[in-house]
């Protein structure tokens, strides 16, 4: 390659990159990769299995706990400290640590255990902060009307806190689905397997192709939660955002005035 000709070198690198992406998509679309053992659908299935298993267990623990903290206002400081500290956990190190402690035979449950640990903090934070942001006067009025504590929780706090809870589930899911890639290093498959195998075989199309699949999967899950989050905002609360209309109209007025002065 002519080193003096910078443009030529860039062009070669550019076309190399394009070719690499072309190869990666060819790998994704290759029918041979879509059937049999270790096929792409199977890897996606494994990826989703670990993600949903961890999310189910983590939600079952963190949602009731977060609601309890949010409703009673007790234990909030501890929850904040734990969720803050847990966010700094190194997921890769934790995975290996627990598999080594539990033994190779128990690597699947211990993997899910670690994923659960990672998922709990954002879910917990979403659950209790959702209840915390509710106007105290609304809760006070509900109690003064004669609602029981259960009725206050289910009829007032849970519906009003739902958007923030789903926000918590959303960030937890993203974190877990990204971390599940690492389980390939423990021989548990999922989409990370294709990357590990790709590195070993130096097949860049396979590595990039599976990376693209992981990204698309994460974006899809995120989009689903974004939609759920939108629908979780109670109608009356959405209806209250009338100021949007006002700012829009005053904006129009402002531009009208501006054009009048010019």
């Amino acid at each position: 390659m002519d080193t003096r000709d910078g443009d030529g070198a860039d062009g070669a690198a550019g076309s190399g990159l394009v070719n690499l992406f072309f190869d990666a998509f060819a790998w994704i679309l290759d029918p041979a990769n879509w059937e049999g053992r270790g096929s792409i659908p199977q890897r996606i299935g494994e990826q989703l299995y670990f993600t949903f298993a961890a999310m189910a267990v983590a939600s079952a623990i963190a949602v009731p706990l977060g609601w309890l903290i949010g409703h009673t206002g007790r234990g909030r400081d501890i929850a904040v400290a734990i969720t803050g500290a847990a966010r700094a956990l190194p997921s890769f190190g934790l995975l290996f640590l627990f598999v080594m402690i539990a033994g190779v035979l128990l690597r699947e449950p211990s993997t899910i255990f670690v994923l659960v640990l990672l998922a709990i903090p954002p879910i917990l934070a979403g659950a209790y902060s959702g209840l915390e942001v509710i106007d105290r006067r609304v809760v006070d009025a509900a109690r003064a009307m004669g609602m029981t504590e259960w009725q206050i929780l289910w009829k007032v706090e849970v519906p009003l806190g739902l958007p923030l809870l789903i926000g918590g589930l959303r960030s937890a899911t993203l974190q877990v689905v990204a971390t599940v890639v690492l389980v390939a290093f423990l021989g548990l498959g999922a989409l990370g397997f294709e990357i590990v195998q790709g590195i070993a075989l130096r097949s860049y199309d396979q590595m990039l192709g599976s990376a693209i699949l992981i990204i698309v999967l994460a974006l899809l899950l995120d989009a689903i939660f974004a939609i759920l989050e939108r629908f979780a905002v109670p109608r009356g609360v959405r209806a209250g955002r009338i100021p949007d209309v006002r700012t829009a109209s005053s904006g129009r007025r402002a531009t009208a005035e501006a054009s009048a002065t010019t």
Binding site: V138, D140, R143, A144, G146, M147, G240
Partner: protein, 274 residues
């Protein structure tokens, strides 16, 4: 009748909000607790539906000691209207009004029909039934709050500065509505305010409170104005100044009333000819 007997309340942080308070609140009348902020008037009100439990003393409603009644049960038979309405933002107006009847197991259809009637009672157009609280003005929200307080047809209606957050014109309007409602419904109303004019307008019995919920004076507005018990009361009701300190001046043979600032307030007429 509601009766406070030597009620005291000390909060966990050591502040004594209510110090040995005794009072009878006659049925079918409006009793107004009035005082500056922090005098314990809201604490007194919230003791009646056990939102606050007394540290010592007894509180009876029609001879029944309320500490023996389960709070949730007690609250469901007492109407409660608060400042800023406290409406549930995720529920429509009609569902907000029907909340307590629905909790008590009244079928939805029946509860909604009653809620619509209550909207008429408090002067709300029925077309608002499907709206959410955030789509209403402050005055309309307060009307919904009153309708909700009346939903189970309670004997007692507690009102905690219900008109404190609306503008003066709407407040005057709501005060007149409440007077009309009280003539029609004949409830035992306990009303808390820091506005002495509101207290004199609405109260059959006005209770002026000092710090620690000590009674500075109680009586009808006339009694209090005619004979303020202390300098504190005189100053609180403004008897020594402004528009309440009226004096008579003779002009061309008729009596003109002049207020404390020297402005003409009106003419004195024979009783009954006005």
């Amino acid at each position: 009748m509601i009766e406070f007997r030597s009620i005291s309340k000390t909060f966990p942080d050591g502040t004594t909000a209510v110090d040995d308070f005794s009072l009878q609140l006659p049925s079918h009348q409006t009793t107004v607790f009035v005082g500056s902020s922090g005098c314990g008037k809201t604490t007194l009100l919230r003791m009646i539906n056990r939102m606050v439990d007394a540290s010592s003393g007894e509180l009876e409603i029609d001879g029944e000691n309320i500490s023996t009644i389960e709070p949730v049960k007690l609250r469901r038979r007492i109407g409660y209207v608060m400042q800023n309405s406290g409406l549930l933002p995720h529920r429509r107006v009609i569902d907000n009004i029907a909340t307590v009847p629905r909790l008590n197991g009244v079928p939805k259809k029946e509860a909604h029909a009653r809620a619509l009637e209550l909207m008429d009672t408090v002067g709300l157009d029925r077309s608002m039934a499907e709206r959410y609280p955030a789509q209403l003005s402050g005055g309309q929200q307060q009307r919904v709050g009153v309708a909700r307080g009346l939903a189970v047809d309670p004997n007692i209606l507690l009102m905690d500065e219900p008109f404190g957050a609306v503008d003066p014109i709407v407040r005057a309007d709501l005060q007149q509505e409440l007077l009309r409602l009280q003539r029609e419904l004949d409830k035992t109303v306990v009303f808390v305010t820091h506005d002495i004019d509101e207290a004199f307008l609405l109260g059959d019995q006005v209770v002026i409170l000092e710090k620690g919920a000590r009674i500075a004076q109680k009586g009808s507005p006339e009694e209090i104005l005619a004979n303020p018990a202390s300098d504190f009361v005189a100053s609180f009701i403004g008897a020594d100044r402004g528009k309440r300190a009226l004096s008579i001046r003779e002009v061309d043979g008729s009596s003109i009333l002049v207020d404390g600032d020297g402005n003409v307030a009106g003419a004195l007429t024979e009783e009954g000819t006005a």
